[in-house]
């Protein structure tokens, strides 16, 4: 499939899912009323529902999905590791931990604006640790095991921090931080996360040419005139910004960044750079679709979107491990 046709097809699918996400909800609004209320206003109730409840949710699904898809594609290309993904290597979990520590300690008051600061710090730390490990031991196994250790540690510390909070509701929020959800996000969440996500994605997208060169190995890339330090900085800062900001408002959503690049790679020329745009849109598609499933799967009960992505992603992850067992074992 030519890159243009692939991108157009993905773009169309993304647009359809975005609109569908806007039309689904417990309030009984017809599709035409909904769109009218969104664009022109309409009566008070439907305007508030569309602009203050459904639009932020769809926007965050789009932005966070895109950031996860893109960062998955970049990490897989940069580390030359098919299992690399922000969720599996512990970046999301560390971002959650950072957000939890800042928010529940009350250091910043009960302000939402404090969340990204903590999440970015956590994600940044996780990427630094992982790249340090990857630089020493190049094997797939080491990186994944380090990621698993980091994820578990971050999840445990997140639970601990929430259990120690004197607020009786905090311990129930473990589910949110470890599984993620897009439920009842407001425009405030969009305002604090999306700008950071856009900057992060721009940094990640700038690595495209370098990633192609890196597929020849680090020395090969340098001989092609690629600045290794610059690429490294772009990957670290881009992943931390994109994943950290997303996690701050939706919790840790896993497996999106793993599944999407693998599904789309056969449709491209297999160069890491030509996977970036499709993966970005693919991530958005997967998260929007998963969020729709989370809302309609069980009537009157909303699932956490991370449960849906894990149901898709975890079997896929197992299959990948079995397929690449020759390299691992």
């Amino acid at each position: 499939m030519s890159p243009l046709r692939l991108n157009l097809a993905l773009g169309a699918l993304m647009a359809i899912l975005f609109v569908l996400s806007l039309l689904i909800g417990p309030a009984h609004l017809g599709p035409i009323t909904s769109i009218k209320a969104l664009i022109a206003g309409g009566d008070e109730a439907s305007r508030i529902i569309m602009r203050e409840i459904r639009l932020p949710r769809a926007l965050l699904g789009l932005a966070v999905g895109a950031s996860l898809g893109l960062s998955g594609a970049v990490l897989q290309g940069f580390l030359r590791n098919p299992l690399a993904e922000p969720g599996i290597v512990g970046v999301s979990a560390m971002a959650s931990l950072g957000a939890v520590l800042i928010f529940y300690s009350g250091l910043a008051g009960a302000s939402l604006y404090a969340l990204p600061a903590g999440a970015l710090a956590g994600a940044f730390l996780a990427v630094l640790i992982l790249l340090a490990i990857a630089a020493r031991h190049g094997s797939t196994l080491t990186l994944i095991l380090a990621g698993v250790a980091l994820s578990s540690l971050a999840a445990a510390l997140t639970s601990l921090a929430l259990n120690l909070s004197p607020n009786p509701f905090a311990s129930y929020e473990i589910i949110f931080w470890l599984l993620g959800s897009l439920k009842d996000r407001s425009m405030m969440h969009v305002a604090i996360a999306v700008p950071l996500i856009v900057v992060g994605c721009a940094l990640l997208a700038a690595t495209g040419r370098a990633l192609d060169a890196f597929s020849l190995g680090e020395e090969g890339a340098e001989s092609l005139g690629i600045d290794r330090k610059r690429t490294r900085f772009l990957v670290i800062a881009g992943t931390a910004l994109a994943v950290g900001a997303g996690t701050a408002v939706t919790g840790a959503i896993s497996f999106v960044g793993l599944v999407v690049p693998h599904m789309l790679r056969p449709l491209t020329n297999r160069m890491p750079s030509s996977l970036l745009v499709p993966s970005t849109m693919g991530g958005a598609i997967l998260l929007l679709a998963a969020d729709i499933v989370a809302r309609v799967a069980v009537s009157a009960h909303e699932l956490n979107v991370g449960v849906v992505t894990a149901l898709i992603g975890a079997p896929f992850f197992l299959w990948l491990i079995i397929r690449s067992r020759r390299e691992i074992f």
Binding site: H28, I49, E52, A170, S186
Partner: protein, 357 residues
């Protein structure tokens, strides 16, 4: 919650083992079968000790008696038993001593008990967010709802909630304590019955009768004052949890002359209520909880959602005095009165002046 309860059982099991001989309190060991007779334990041991020290041996020795063999330890034991029994006030000797492990039974017990009858109440009882009687609660000893604490205090009756700490409850029953469980009061109608039941447990029937009658009279007065079309209301809690049909809050709202939106839409019990539906139906009154804790949580942020605040023509407020409808008790009348007042402001009676209060 369940995990911590399991942990508790494990810890309690350890505690039980640690009380086994050679402790200074050998007779408390469940292996010696004393547990089933704990209610007369202190008194009979006192008699025994007194009897022996005065040379009168009219009481038969206990089976497998360690008291006769190891006389040197007798003083230590007597001291220990004195500590155990020192919590027993003189004027409550004929009334059962009660220990409450649940914030709801705490308040019923405080309302009805005679001075000195309460061994301890749960530490949640002094939390103004949960307990209406948090001021009264300050003067009572507190427990944390641990089986271990009950074991040491040895009350005559333990009162607790059906849903709270049921692992602890099972353990206490297994140890032979007299445990009375109170179901979480579901409606206003069950409250007089709960009051009378607590009265029977405490042997304070007359007081309970008076409190229950007072409650019913007050409730009937508020109900009689309701008039005009009922405004819609919803109790919208942390995380968007609403109080649907069958809850205490639902019956309070109905008694105050309000229509509960959650119940009207078919939600039963405490159930998450979609924010979208709330906006769609635009209730006249949204009853928000006071923040439970100064520590931040995402649950509290739900109540500050811009979508909620964008609703014009809806009254938002706490309205209900803190803790007044989190438990069934005579004080729920305050919640009914408070809501009846709000209802009166939203949809005033056309005929007479303010009939509430």
């Amino acid at each position: 919650m369940r995990q911590s309860a399991k942990w508790l059982v494990r810890v309690s099991a350890k505690v039980r083992r640690s009380f086994a001989p050679p402790s200074v309190l050998p007779d408390i060991s469940p292996t010696r079968g004393e547990i089933g007779r704990h209610d007369c334990f202190c008194q009979s041991l006192m008699l025994q000790i007194v009897g022996r020290s005065s040379g009168r041996l009219d009481l038969p020795p206990r089976g497998g008696d360690v008291w006769q063999d190891r006389g040197g330890q007798r003083r230590a034991r007597a001291a220990a038993i004195f500590v155990l029994c020192a919590t027993l006030p003189a004027n409550a000797a004929d009334l059962p001593r009660i220990m409450s492990l649940n914030v709801c039974t705490d308040q019923l017990a405080m309302t009805l008990a005679a001075p000195g009858q309460i061994v301890s109440i749960s530490d949640l009882s002094s939390d103004p967010g949960l307990s209406f009687m948090y001021k009264e609660a300050k003067s009572y000893p507190k427990n944390r709802g641990l089986a271990e604490e009950v074991f040491l205090a040895r009350p005559d009756v333990v009162v607790t909630g059906t849903y709270t700490l049921h692992n602890t409850t099972d353990l206490l029953k297994h140890l032979g304590f007299h445990v009375e469980e109170f179901a979480y009061a579901q409606t206003l109608d069950t409250i007089p019955g709960e009051i009378l039941r607590m009265g029977r447990i405490l042997h304070r029937e007359a007081k309970a009768e008076a409190v229950a009658t007072n409650f019913e009279t007050g409730l009937a007065a508020v109900k009689a004052s309701v008039c005009g079309p009922a405004p819609t209301a919803i109790a919208y809690g942390q995380n968007g949890i609403s109080q649907g049909a069958g809850t205490l809050a639902d019956s309070v709202m109905r008694a105050a002359g309000l229509k509960n939106l959650a119940a009207e839409l078919g939600y039963a019990g405490m159930a998450p209520f979609p924010l979208e539906l709330l906006i769609e139906h635009r209730p006249d009154i949204v009853i928000l909880p006071e923040q439970l804790s100064t520590a931040p949580s995402l649950a509290d942020l739900t109540l500050k959602d811009p979508a909620l605040r964008a609703l014009k023509g809806t009254r938002f407020g706490h309205f209900v005095p803190e803790g007044a409808w989190s438990c069934g008790g005579p004080f729920v009348l305050e919640a009914v009165k408070a809501l009846a007042k709000v209802r009166q402001q939203v949809s005033p009676c056309s005929t007479s002046g303010a009939p509430t209060q």
